[in-house]
């Protein structure tokens, strides 16, 4: 018994040490460094005109990208799980692509499509539409990186709840839309919520893809993550820490939302 306890404590210490050195101490230190000069300084750093504009741009982009992908996610999950159309497996395999593509490659791909020499570059230029180095490019990049999240959360829930209730509703005379709204949607809503939380975190935190397509014009196409990088490379370390802490707080809020939702999202653990 004695040796077992020693083993257990040793393993616990090792695991905690590993997490501490790699994750907990660095993140804790950034918060410490941020708030060391006092709350006033932090407040000033995150309320400069550039920071405020970056904050609202980040929120606006997420507000466009995430609902579109949530809609796509529900439609795609229904088609994959409930549908019988051929080609489902191909779509199923391709949905994970954004997870496997480097953010930099995503940015490059958008430049090659919508940039000056891109496939649609000439057509867009003739009409005076600028995508790259402007907000539409940032939106497209953010949609790209956050495509898979809602599908990947909703599809397993749909599979698990089965379609008996939907069939019962149909037998009782409900139309397709009514069945979806009254039967399917309530059973997948927590799955959707979980996917939306993950997609939002990713959308707010995206850096690589956005950094290539944004052009980084302060007050116009600068998102929060880009602001962090700019401040850091311009030796405004305190400013970079303050903006980082703001993003880290959003990350922690995401974790909180995840753990609150995780027990609800699947019917078997409810």
């Amino acid at each position: 018994m004695r040796a077992e306890t020693v083993h257990r404590l040793a393993l616990r210490a090792l695991a905690l040490g590993y997490l501490g050195v790699l994750l907990l101490i660095p993140v804790g230190l950034v918060f410490w460094r941020t708030f060391e000069p006092g709350l006033g300084a932090v407040w000033d750093a995150v309320t400069t005109p550039a920071a405020i504009s970056a904050f609202w741009l980040t929120i606006a982009v997420a507000l466009i990208a995430v609902p579109l992908n949530a809609l796509f996610g529900v439609v795609a999950a229904l088609a994959l799980v409930r549908g019988r159309a051929p080609g489902r497996r191909v779509l199923d395999a391709l949905i994970d692509l954004p997870f496997a593509v480097s953010p930099v490659v995503i940015g490059l791909s958008l430049v090659l499509l919508y940039g000056r020499d891109g496939w649609f570059g000439g057509w867009l230029a003739e009409r005076g539409i600028q995508v790259i180095f402007s907000v539409p490019g940032i939106v497209l990049a953010t949609i790209f990186v956050s495509v898979p999240f809602v599908v990947r959360e909703v599809a397993p829930v749909l599979r698990e709840v089965g379609d008996e209730q939907e069939q019962a509703a149909a037998t009782l005379g409900a139309g397709a839309w009514q069945t979806f709204r009254r039967v399917t949607l309530p059973s997948i809503r927590w799955g959707i919520a979980y996917g939306v939380v993950l997609a939002t975190a990713r959308a707010i935190g995206e850096f690589g893809a956005v950094s290539i397509v944004s052009g980084k014009i302060a007050g116009e196409t600068e998102t929060l993550t880009l602001l962090v990088e700019k401040r850091f490379t311009n030796f405004d370390v305190a400013g970079a820490y303050a903006a980082s802490a703001l993003l880290a707080l959003i990350g922690l809020a995401t974790l909180l939302a995840m753990s609150l939702l995780s027990s609800r999202r699947s019917p078997s653990t409810r």
Partner: protein
């Protein structure tokens, strides 16, 4: 199993001219094509703009080869270290019990929730030139490894944890009662059950590490032939208007990630077969 869960044969549906879900599948495929596939096709096309010869020349410049090689090696090391660390953490989270375990469990996902650029700044605060513990690895290959380990930390933990939770303890008890030491029981009974999950977690971590940019860009110092990873190399080529060179290396990076993704799908099937 409750009555509601019993498999009930679905009543035969009216035969429709189009299979159910065809419209949804069409709309989803269109969205995915516009947002994801078309841009990636543009990269592939651009890399072959000047023919295979130009593609090969772009990929085999000394700087590109060095960046790709370093990326693959450092990603493998990060994935391997996190496989060991992830197994350890998953084990402690499932089998041990202590105050604050639930909070710790939630914090494992922090690297997923934290923007990558913040991850980089975070590591620089502890392991950069202002390090309070006197460890300065900024702009070295070790810094790149640390960044990749940080961002891929959750993969193995989250892959192993559910398998470990569902593992039948009776086998271990039987093994112990037959006189096996805890070490032998772990090696012969527990570990073989975890191998598929460990491998798929490690593969996911590797795939993520290969393309990583945000956490590395500040830490690596971007020194060619030393700390420059492929993603940063591509970024620099885009900045200096060498889209051809960027596209060529991007295609190689894409190919590596896709291979890993296919391997993970295969692993998933293998794991499922082993369970049944």
């Amino acid at each position: 199993m409750s009555v509601a869960e019993l498999p009930i044969r679905a009543p035969r549906r009216r035969r429709l001219s189009t299979p159910p879900g065809a419209l949804g599948l069409g709309v989803s495929t269109l969205w995915l094509s516009l947002i994801v596939l078309l841009p990636l096709a543009a990269v592939a096309a651009r890399s072959l703009d000047g023919g295979l010869g130009d593609f090969w020349a772009s990929v085999t410049t000394r700087q590109a080869v060095d960046a790709l090689r370093f990326t693959v090696v450092v990603s493998l090391v990060a994935a391997a270290l996190n496989t060991a660390g992830g197994l350890l953490v998953a084990w402690v989270l499932v089998r041990d019990d202590f105050r604050g375990k639930r909070v710790l469990n939630a914090l494992i996902d922090l690297p997923f929730a934290l923007p990558t650029i913040v991850a980089g700044i975070t590591l620089l605060a502890l392991y950069g030139k202002d390090s309070p513990v006197g460890i300065d690895v900024a702009f070295t290959q070790v810094a790149v490894l640390l960044a990749l380990m940080f961002v891929t930390l959750p993969f193995v933990v989250r892959a192993v944890q559910p398998v470990l939770m569902e593992l039948d303890r009776e086998m271990e008890e039987a093994s112990a009662s037959l006189g096996a030491t805890p070490g032998v029981t772990f090696r012969r009974i527990v570990f073989p059950n975890l191998v598929p999950a460990l491998l798929s977690g490690a593969a996911l971590a590797f795939a993520r590490a290969v393309g990583e940019f945000g956490s590395v860009v500040l830490l690596s110092g971007n020194i060619p032939f030393d700390t420059q990873v492929a993603a940063v190399y591509i970024f620099k080529q885009v900045e200096s208007d060498n889209a051809d060179g960027a596209a060529a290396v991007a295609v190689v990076l894409l190919a590596i990630s896709l291979l890993v993704l296919v391997a993970i799908r295969g692993l998933g099937r293998w794991g499922a077969r082993h369970e049944g």
